[in-house]
Symmetry: C2
Subunit: 415 residues, 2 copies
């Protein structure tokens, strides 16, 4: 893509009305724009990053048998009344609205109830189980405060998968599988080393639920972390009893700030009982379907990546979600730049080409650092006289000169 | 994909609470499920179809320079008050809600206002224009009645592109370009022959706007159609004066029922003036940006395709949006079926494999007809004894026997 054609531009200063680093940098670089606190629109480069995060999540969900669906945001109150979650005293983040033809509606903050109800059409006998629908869909939560940019949205993207199993044993097998899939996702996002499976409150059906907590000062959670064993306890359930139960020792636990990047939850028969979702077992007897839910927030992760992977000059995207692999920066209008741009495209290398004229080299460099694309390639008279193109990783200081052939070979191998 | 793994199932009967053919068939076949009137969720096969429609639209928008974005559903009232469209008397389809922290919000039924406001960050001089952001995003409209399935949604998917140009001439060039792009989209959806560019009310800035109206008894519009010239007049503006203005003759015009599948609209400076979106021209003088908006509804189109392409047995998807190219139906458990399934997959041919056991041949055939996948391939002892596989287009009566090699060659050429 040619930068001269891109309608977004970087801004000289970061927005004054944002507190969080992720919102400041993403707005300044033109990735997102603010509609109101906790509500952002994604501009072209921001949508590319978000879609790359979505793709990684989708691929890992498909590998473990996830089947993608897309549910509605608008919610009928009846099904939520059956489960007891329509009441604002029970769920305090509802946005509610009215149908002109009569009746109150909600905007989905999660989808256990409508999905459980829908599944009555498809579950009859034990032969129909297990299965795993998931969606990447917009959720709405009426948060009182939203000052963390993409990390706490009033409208945000969520991957939510729901498991429908015959019994607890079948459920537990999948629970382990998706836990591994989550770590694969975090690995592909360069977050694995910072992310810990964390024991949290299990609700009415299980002793614990599990959160994936990623170490970051921008997070809003506190966990007690055993770095060696790579597990943590959320402070909500941090008691001597729990420490002992998990075989941990108080002296090995470190208190750290984290951001919740995922959670997996055993729902048991809470929703299937409330909404009467049953199947007939081998003996023809009615049994309640055993459920689980599994969330991960692509837009929150995008914000967190910026919090973690950035420096004083701007963003430093992990390669897997960088909007392009290469930022090709031409310092003068020259044919060589256009030629190498075409060659990179012919080789299916994702490239943003800063072909803008009458912009100083300094401005181009600072824009490039702010955008944070994985590799910067400079084409200039100087680089060409030195034998080719000046190549540098975003986070490195030193560049090296590569010939056209070596440049193409290198980026083909880096794809 | 193996049908035995697909969690959705066809239903014996079509839903009693639906009037429209598209909702009846799509629900019965397990493509969508109903949340409430005018609000549907997309199940795995339905989401595949919807994504194929989206992909066609995206490709044609990218070809004419569209840059994809994703705006928020939640809307601040202030920007809509500036344009005069916050008032329920002006716009009667708002869903409105409240922030817990104070303030009324709306759910976007369209995005002219917030986008125009956002563009102030990116438009300074004439050199920044023109450009064309677009999104495929969920819209909310509080319709009093919604009985047409996917064809009139209270929550539905919309592709909305907005053009920002220097002046009317630059605008008109793009207006023609996107008009052609729309016909390419309809061509790829097998709707071109039924779709007519229709003159409709232009609003405050231009004499006419243009609708793309597709002939269908399921439509809610009436147009007067000149079949030879392939243009039509919406009955809203059907007057002797307009007929004359367009060089048409009353006696050549046929009154037909149609569904609006797209519209393109010259907005002029209505929104840029209201929200003060200006640029500096070559002489350094302030000018208002000249705008247009261009809509097309992927989920509505999905409904319309079912209305048009279906018979008494079920859906007959156009090949370009069929959830799979091939429905492979195995009548007995046999190794040949599994083998050809693997071969088709190896050749990147999209295939749904009905590998379900203990289901009668009759039930499998009627499910296959209901689902409406472009080609049905039967593997049975009988077909194998006749030399291979029984292949039939969904809409054809006669099948033919193809050997494995011919089958693969045929579907590779059909991809």
């Amino acid at each position: 893509m040619k930068q001269s054609k891109l309608f977004t531009k970087t801004q000289k200063n970061s927005p004054a009305d944002e507190e969080s680093k992720n919102a400041k940098l993403l707005i300044q670089a033109g990735y997102i724009s603010k509609e109101m606190a906790g509500v952002y629109s994604f501009l072209p480069l921001g949508l590319i990053v978000l879609e790359k995060i979505n793709k990684i999540i989708k691929e890992e969900m498909e590998k473990i048998g996830g089947q993608e669906i897309l549910m509605s945001a608008l919610q009928c109150h009846d099904v939520w009344q059956e489960s007891g979650r329509w009441d604002d005293k029970v769920v305090d983040v509802w946005f509610k609205t009215f149908l002109k033809s009569g009746g109150e509606l909600g905007l989905g903050f999660s989808h256990e109830e409508p999905l459980t109800k829908n599944m009555k059409n498809f579950i009859c006998s034990y032969k129909d189980l297990p299965f795993y629908p998931y969606q990447i869909q917009t959720k709405f939560r009426n948060e009182k405060r939203a000052k963390s940019g993409l990390m706490r949205g009033r409208e945000f993207l969520m991957k939510d998968l729901y498991s429908f199993s015959k019994d607890e044993k079948e459920h537990n097998d999948f629970y382990e599988k998706i836990s591994e899939a989550y770590f694969k996702i975090f690995e592909r996002l360069d977050l694995k080393d910072l992310t810990y499976k964390t024991f949290a409150d299990g609700g009415s059906f299980s002793k614990y639920s599990h959160e994936f907590q990623t170490e970051s000062d921008a997070g809003e959670d506190i966990v007690y972390l055993d770095r060696e064993k790579k597990i943590a306890i959320n402070q909500e359930v941090y008691t001597d009893e729990v420490i002992e139960d998990l075989g941990l020792k108080k002296e090995n636990l470190e208190k750290v700030k984290t951001a919740e990047t995922g959670n997996i939850f055993t729902l048991g028969t809470k929703f299937s009982d409330a909404l009467n979702l049953k199947y007939k077992d081998e003996k023809g007897e009615d049994k309640s379907v055993f459920m689980g839910s599994y969330g991960i927030g692509p837009s929150r992760i995008m914000g967190l990546l910026v919090e973690i992977f950035s420096d004083e000059k701007g963003i430093v995207w992990p390669k897997s979600v960088s909007p392009f692999l290469v930022h090709l920066v031409s310092l003068e209008k020259n044919e060589e730049a256009e030629k190498i741009y075409q060659k990179l495209k012919e080789n299916n290398i994702e490239v943003l080409f800063d072909d803008r004229e009458k912009i100083s080299a300094g401005e181009k460099f600072s824009d490039s650092d702010l955008l944070g694309i994985s590799y910067r390639v400079i084409v200039s008279e100087k680089s060409l006289n030195s034998g080719g193109f000046e190549v540098k990783k975003r986070e490195e200081k030193e560049a090296k000169i590569l010939s056209e052939k070596n440049l193409l070979d290198f980026f083909i191998s880096e794809k």
